[in-house]
Amino acid sequence: MKHDFTVVEELKTKFSALEFVEQTTSDGVPTLWVPKESIVEVLGYLKNEVLKPYRMLYDLGAIDERERKHREGQPISDFTVFYLLMSFERNSDIRLKIALKGEYPTAPSVTRVFQNANWYEREAYDMFGIKFDGHPLLRRILMPLWWEGHPLRKEHPARATEMGPFQMPEDKSIEEQEVYEFKPEHWGLKKSTETTDFMFLNLGPQHPGTHGVLRLVLQLDGEIIVDIVPDIGFHHRGQEKIAERQSWHTYLPYTDRVDYLAGVVNNLAYLMSLEVLGGIEIPERAKVIRVMLCEVFRIYNHLVWLGTFAQDVGQLSPVFYTFTDREKALSIIEAVTGFRMHPGWFRIGGTAADLPKGWETLVRNFLDWMPPRLKEYDKMVMGNRIFKARTVGVGLFNVEEAIEWGITGPNLRACGLEWDLRKRRPFSGYDQFEFDIPIGQNGDCYDRAVVRMEEMRQSLRIIEQCLKNMPEGPYKSSNPLTTPPIKDRTMMDIETLINHFLNVSWGPVMPPGESGVAVETIKGITSYYLISDGSTGAYRNHIRTPSFAHMQMVPFMSRSYTIADLMAILGSLDFVLADVDR
């Protein structure tokens, strides 16, 4: 994937007074350090003025640089905030960074340029204690309000054992409970207008319609939604903090749990960044195996989504049918990986094992089984008049709005933008396959469903091609960083023996550098922004998940609809709370 570097020149000519510092990263994304005072201006230029603009703020996050050793050529910085923009016209990204100094620094808020920066900046504040000037509502987002300290700072303990014995006296427990009481004025919401008193309805964190521990506080006029305040973080497990104490290899099973319906697709997203960082070439067979399993997981995810979505609008039966099919998909995954939901089966440099004997029969059976089932769902769900009445025209947003809010994946494609990184920036050998990218037109709940239904058919096509053209050869790279390394030459020469010993005992050591490769996962675009400081584990691992962005847009797209519509909207977005909270 080649990114467009002409933008660097464009920036330098436009802002000739400013001093940009260029940084090379392993992922090949143009990376520029910008003085923090001018970041809003530069972002505004990139979004609105430059030819072929960068319209989407794809990612925003922070890095605690205080303990980092390898920062050659980078400006002095205690904390760094980075912005990753995506251009659809150029099919290219740009990463901007600002250097902040001091223990609890302040950065200008970019929410005026990009609306979706709101939650990202809140997260950076929550995790690092960086304040953002001009942010409309800078509150903690993932951690509970009573939390002390900012977890992703290097001095914050990562394990409970480092924190002293846990105690919960009664007054503390009451205090922590009281934090959850919803006070509309804290969120800038009115309690009433001249003509109506609003009702505030607390939906979740335990509610059958939210698909997990999500809390939404609805401001209602009758049953009409005036505004929503999402309260996330109930599923937050500190994935990014954990990454800093695990080795590159042992972090892999954690990625399965980020989007717990996507299984090995998470592994792929993590490994794409990591393998770029380590410069590891993957053998063809491993690539095709990876693609095949990812597509099986895509179908698996969409089946779960279809069943639960139908149930959200009151149709009870489809979920039982789709779970039968899901079981068929799982039988392939189980036979190949030995696991069901969280295989953690991909490895740095390949996969954990070769395909088992007889895998062709399993896959063939699945390929024969699915098409008639999909036809049935088309009739039973998609063709149902009540289902259409509930979903057509509900939860509308157009391409511009989707881009403004950082929507990716099927939800973006349902608005009519044909943007699938599997085609646009082929990774893991996706360019070798023939498949179409289904798109919708209206960007409503129904179109999102149509797109996913068609995606299942396309995934079947890809799996069929994998089945027919599975290349021979090794399933693992011969690169020394491959974990666990290939053993056949271990006892032959000392070089391989040492590498093997080190890789198995403390894991591979990645060269210092930065890499964040955008990967089309099932729910949208995911990327793991990995920073290696030349050690056995990540110095920083920032996970950009699609569900986080989708969740942020829920209030915007649900306003003026009813509670019943909200359930359809939540169902159609296909988010996973673990993916939102990480």
Binding site: L201, G314, F320, T324, N384, A564, L566, M567
Partner: protein, 318 residues
Amino acid sequence: MNEVVRAVIIALGILIVMMTIAASLIWVERRALALWQDRYGPNRVGPFGLAQVLADMVKIFFKEDWIPKFADRKVFVVAPTIIIMTVLMSFAIIPYTREITLVDLNIGLLFFLGMSSLGVYSVVLGGWASNNKYSLLGTLRAAAQMVSYEVFMGLSLMGIVMITGSFSLVDIVEAQRKVWFFIPQIIGFFIFTVAGIAETHRLPFDLPEAESELISGFHSEYSGMKFGMFFVGEYLGITLISGMIVTLFFGGWLGPAFLPPVVWFLLKTFVFILFFVLLRASLPRPRYDQLMSYGWKFLLPLSLLNLIVTGAVLLFMK
């Protein structure tokens, strides 16, 4: 005195049979749903899982019967009994056969409508007394839905009343000796069935409960036997509506002579009960405003049209 004893025996018989049917419907529904959803359903307790009903009953009787502190205690307790009472009262006027009829009221049909309109109180009061926002939303939906659909239910039956010239259910069944009323009154049958589903708030019209939106709506706060009463009340409601459909449109106990009349009645009723379950297995739930506009903008004109056409045809035939 003989008359009184006979009446008491019939009343007790109907009560026991109906309660048993309602209870075993729990099993029927779960098994039938399972059949349509590629699963087994309860099949462990007793033959075919039949004793599941018993197990469920035992469980529900022994469950903690909790009344929330914030609830309006008196109303909270009274609410679930209303649904059981009104539905059981309606069973009194259904003619199971010519002989097994508790009361042949000359305003039988009106009595049924009256009782079903009183049934609304159960839902409305239960939701209000729970003092819970979800229950309140469910209650608001229920009140609007049931009051509206009662109108269409009443209007849909007037065609039959015009044809038979009587509100007595026995007369209505007798009038179907030549042809069952679902043929001349096909529209009335359709509207009555739809309104019947709405009255019993079963899926697809279960908006007052809507577990994916309102988490059981009006009975969110109910537990133990009070919840059980709503539950049994719902099944009694299904049985009642099915029985009424059979009485009004499918000739009640009438049928070829190789089976006794009461068997015919029960068989036909059972078919409609299964129809109710099938609906639940297959259809999604419309939105609240769609339900209301469907009623007022489609069913109301349709039922009025049915009335006018029936009247015109009757006058013409004279």
